[in-house]
């Protein structure tokens, strides 16, 4: 029996830019289960990033509900929602957002330090994760000393630090070459195989094709028929 990691029900999200309402999400419903590898496709501005943010508790919907287990994320205080993200959600950004003055190890240690892990435990876990993403020989390198693909792998290792049940990646291969993208894709497949639910917003057809489910977003709506 599969386990639901996050559910979105009739989610609406509207932004106001210069007084003009932008309907980023219009009645979106989605179930993400453990081990899912889900690809969100769609043109820029279709609402992919907003859906990732809402699923991860980074943003709150204006209407509808996002449930993590029995918890409606909208009901959580900022502190509890932050803790939820720290413990249960891993986020990967297109621009990595690594701290440039910290080493790869220290960047991966950040969420572990935030959760209160001891120094030795942090160091060991960071090294394990960097090994897993193929950066065992880049532990003491700073982001500026790494290639784009290596930085993205550090960002993925950081996202996995606290063993999240849900990994959300926004255009994770958007700024990477084909070979590096392939490596990231392999990593996601491996993580999904281990039971991590993965939702990826992407324009990368190869990445989308490798996903267990592909969903298309158009104008804030999920296409009713799964592409697969």
């Amino acid at each position: 029996m599969t386990r639901s990691v996050v559910q979105a029900r009739d989610v609406e999200r509207t932004y106001h830019m210069s007084g003009v309402p932008i309907h980023a999400l219009r009645g979106v419903s989605l179930d993400v289960e453990a081990g899912d590898f889900l690809a969100l496709e769609g043109p820029s501005g279709s609402g992919k990033s907003t859906l990732l943010h809402v699923l991860g508790g980074v943003d709150k919907p204006d209407a509808g509900a996002v449930m993590a287990g029995a918890t409606n994320l909208a009901s959580l205080s900022d502190a509890k929602l932050t803790r939820h993200r720290l413990e249960h959600v891993g986020l990967v950004f297109q621009r990595f957002h690594l701290l440039p003055m910290l080493t790869a190890t220290q960047n991966v240690e950040l969420p572990l330090a935030e959760i209160g892990a001891g120094r030795a435990e942090r160091r060991q876990r960071a090294h394990e994760l960097l090994d897993r993403v193929g950066l065992g020989d880049r532990l003491r390198h700073r982001p500026g000393e790494l290639s784009g693909g290596q930085r993205q792998r550090v960002a993925i290792a950081r996202a996995l630090a606290n063993r999240p049940s849900l990994l959300l990646a926004d255009e994770p291969t958007g700024e990477l070459d084909r070979v590096t993208s392939r490596g990231i894709l392999d990593l996601f497949e491996s993580l999904a195989g281990d039971g991590t639910a993965i939702v990826v917003a992407t324009h990368d057809l190869k990445l989308a094709a490798a996903a267990s489910r592909q969903l298309k977003m158009v104008d804030g709506r999920l296409d009713d028929s799964d592409l697969r």
Binding site: L86, L99, M101, I115
Partner: protein, 393 residues
């Protein structure tokens, strides 16, 4: 890890950090100097007066010692009366006058006449000088010279009274230099001499006068109470304790404190503006990464603490440099101000006391960290999703 992150962030932007450190260092140097100035003069004045070992002064009514040229007319009888009062341990008379001096015979020095400040004292009861070389005054024709004087022990000096309009013809007498001394109240430009008070009285035709009397109280007597009691007994003169003199001097010097307070406050405002601006600029540059950190679960508190630790590191570094800079500046200013005419050279305008040092550090850190609070709080409450939307392509 927070401290490490904060320090590395500062090191990652050496230009910006150097600018901020330099600005805060200058402001903190100014703050330290102003704190040293605010308390320095009064503490050094107090210790100068109390160092003489006499707790009370008697001077002409309405004046403080050497405030004016006024003298106590019948000082000999006055000193005897006071000496007989209970609680009084010792009374010493001092007559201070300008006299003309020239070297009458010397081993080598040329004879050049000049005006000097002469102190007529009772050698056994005085707190105005400390013998450096030779011996103290014993005979009526002996004189002590300042250590900076060109006259040497064994020289004979001719002292002449200064003739003023309507006074008798100038008198003169010769004195043998028996010792050199450091004069407690001498200014940097003065080279005073000391001689027995009776000799100066005769030289100046002021047989019973004194500029002021110095009193010491018995060990079990409160100097302030003694001053009040003597003042009630002898209302025609001014009898004040050293503490009272210091208090009055403080009132006269209050503008120094006001100046120090205003300039010290300005330096704190400059620190606040500088730190606030630098941190705001630095944080604005990092909105994207801060939003990302919030998104991955870093709490608001952690964001604020990290940014405040960064500020603290900046202010601490700048403060340390500022304290050194302030000490050097104070020393330089002191060398200028110590040449101020008429002020005892022993007076210090800038006195560094531990309390002032701690006060400067506490004020600097508090103001610096407080100035960073608003940008740090704003960073911690960023709308995460909106900021990420803006940052991501």
């Amino acid at each position: 890890m927070i401290l490490q992150t904060a320090v590395r962030e500062l090191r990652a932007h050496p230009g910006r950090t150097a600018f901020a450190v330099a600005g805060v260092a200058v402001a903190s140097a100014m703050l330290l100097d102003m704190l040293m100035l605010a308390g320095g003069l009064q503490s050094s004045f107090g210790s100068l007066l109390s160092g003489a070992g006499f707790e009370l002064r008697v001077s002409p009514s309405g004046t403080l010692p050497l405030d004016t040229d006024a003298t106590l007319q019948d000082a000999v009888a006055l000193a005897q009366d006071i000496r007989s009062e209970p609680g009084v341990a010792a009374v010493g008379s001092v007559l201070a006058l300008n006299v003309q001096v020239e070297v009458a015979s010397s081993a080598g020095a040329d004879s050049v006449g000049s005006m000097v400040f002469a102190l007529g004292v009772e050698p056994q009861v005085q707190g105005l000088y400390r013998i450096v070389d030779g011996s103290d005054l014993k005979g009526a024709a002996e004189i002590l010279v300042d250590v900076r004087s060109p006259a040497r022990i064994g020289d004979t000096l001719r002292l002449s009274s200064v003739r003023t309009f309507g006074s008798a013809a100038a008198a003169s007498a010769e004195f043998v230099v028996v010792g050199t001394a450091e004069f407690v109240y001498a200014s940097a430009s003065e080279v005073p001499v000391a001689l027995p008070i009776q000799a100066l009285r005769e030289l100046s035709s002021r047989p019973a006068e004194a500029s002021f009397l110095m009193l010491s109280a018995e060990p079990d007597t409160d100097p302030n109470a003694l001053a009040r009691r003597l003042q009630a007994l002898i209302p025609s003169v001014e009898i004040v304790s050293i503490r009272e003199i210091v208090r009055r001097a403080e009132m006269r010097l209050s503008y120094f404190r006001q100046l120090a307070f205003i300039l010290g406050s300005v330096s704190l405002v400059v620190t606040a503006l500088l730190v606030g601006t630098i941190m705001a600029v630095s944080i604005n540059d990092r909105y994207g990464i801060i939003a990302a950190l919030r998104a991955i679960g870093v709490s608001r508190r952690s964001i604020i603490v990290t940014l405040l630790v960064e500020t603290l590191a900046l202010v601490t570094l700048a403060g340390a440099i500022g304290l050194v800079l302030g000490s050097v500046t104070a020393r330089y200013l002191e060398s200028i101000l110590s040449d101020f005419p008429g002020l005892p050279a022993a007076i210090r305008f800038f006195v560094l006391e531990p309390r002032q040092l701690w006060l400067a550090i506490a004020a600097l850190v508090t103001v610096g960290v407080a100035a960073a609070l608003i940008p740090a709080y704003r960073a911690s409450t960023l709308p995460i999703a909106t900021t990420l939307h803006r940052e991501e392509p």
